[in-house]
Symmetry: C2
Subunit: 167 residues, 2 copies
């Protein structure tokens, strides 16, 4: 693994951790898709990540402090991956990237509906979402309303709309 040492610029240091094609995809699936196990991330990946790449990225993200890994009590070989505060704090980065992608790139409707809601909700919604992630990943108390449920419901509705339209 390459050692650090390009510069102390925040953008550069962020890129040294997240500047590749897969790290943010893995984090996105954990954050928005609530994928917590290896096989789940592997099988349900829209982008078709290879198992060696997934294993490598999970290991790196745990090493760098964005994820934590613990054993699953129900299965001795199952590992549960959770976001740390460092991972949860990426919500505004995802929101900014999602908004930019939605504006300039050929996104599909059902996959961009969550980005749209996140963008429209603004920092207040992001903070509620982060509270919910702290509940799901860090044993924080449960929030009153679930932002994730809203996002997922909107996604499913958009998906259903598209499928009935092309049926």
């Amino acid at each position: 693994m390459r050692e650090t040492g390009r510069s102390g610029c925040p953008i550069n240091l962020t890129l040294e951790i997240l500047g590749d094609r897969w790290s943010l995809i893995v984090l996105r699936d954990i954050m928005f898709g609530n994928r917590r196990h290896f096989r789940e991330m592997l099988a349900k990946s829209d982008e078709g990540i290879a198992s060696n790449i997934l294993a490598d990225r999970l290991k790196r993200l745990v090493e760098r402090g964005l994820l934590s890994r613990r054993d699953d009590a129900t299965h001795k070989q199952k590992a549960i991956y959770s976001l740390t505060e460092m991972g949860i704090a990426l919500v505004p980065v995802f929101a900014a990237m999602g908004e930019w992608g939605r504006r300039f790139l050929p996104v599909t409707e059902e996959l961009s509906i969550r980005a749209e809601l996140l963008s429209e909700g603004g920092p207040a919604l992001w903070e509620r979402f982060m509270q919910e992630l702290r509940h799901l990943h860090l044993d924080a108390p449960a929030p009153e309303v679930s932002v994730l449920n809203e996002l997922t419901a909107a996604y499913r509705a958009a998906l259903a709309r598209r499928q009935s339209a092309t049926a």
Copy 2:
């Protein structure tokens, strides 16, 4: 399905353009350092980008629409790279990444002062900065005050502080 792509997710599509170690570094130097020529980016790069990588990334970013390239009237071999609206619209992404990096990574003070100002200024400052970039890169009218000057002055002041402290 898409021919060359992986999925229509905004995050994925954004990563297909910006998901590598150098693209955002190049854009950062053009945006915050006002580097407009090849040699300028090559020589003044804090991270020491190689010339073949820089050439490749500039070509790609022009192809994808984040930069434009034109000849310099003062020098027949000089090329001027400019941000397009698509490139300028990355300001909030840089702000979010900078804030995250500043919070969790071992940044150096003088290289993170601009990120700090951008973060504290919020969306209102970002919009003023983007207006200024439209002036510098897209022939828009000049804004009353220069955000870039403020950022650069703060960077230079921090640099001078550090150099006098370690002298």
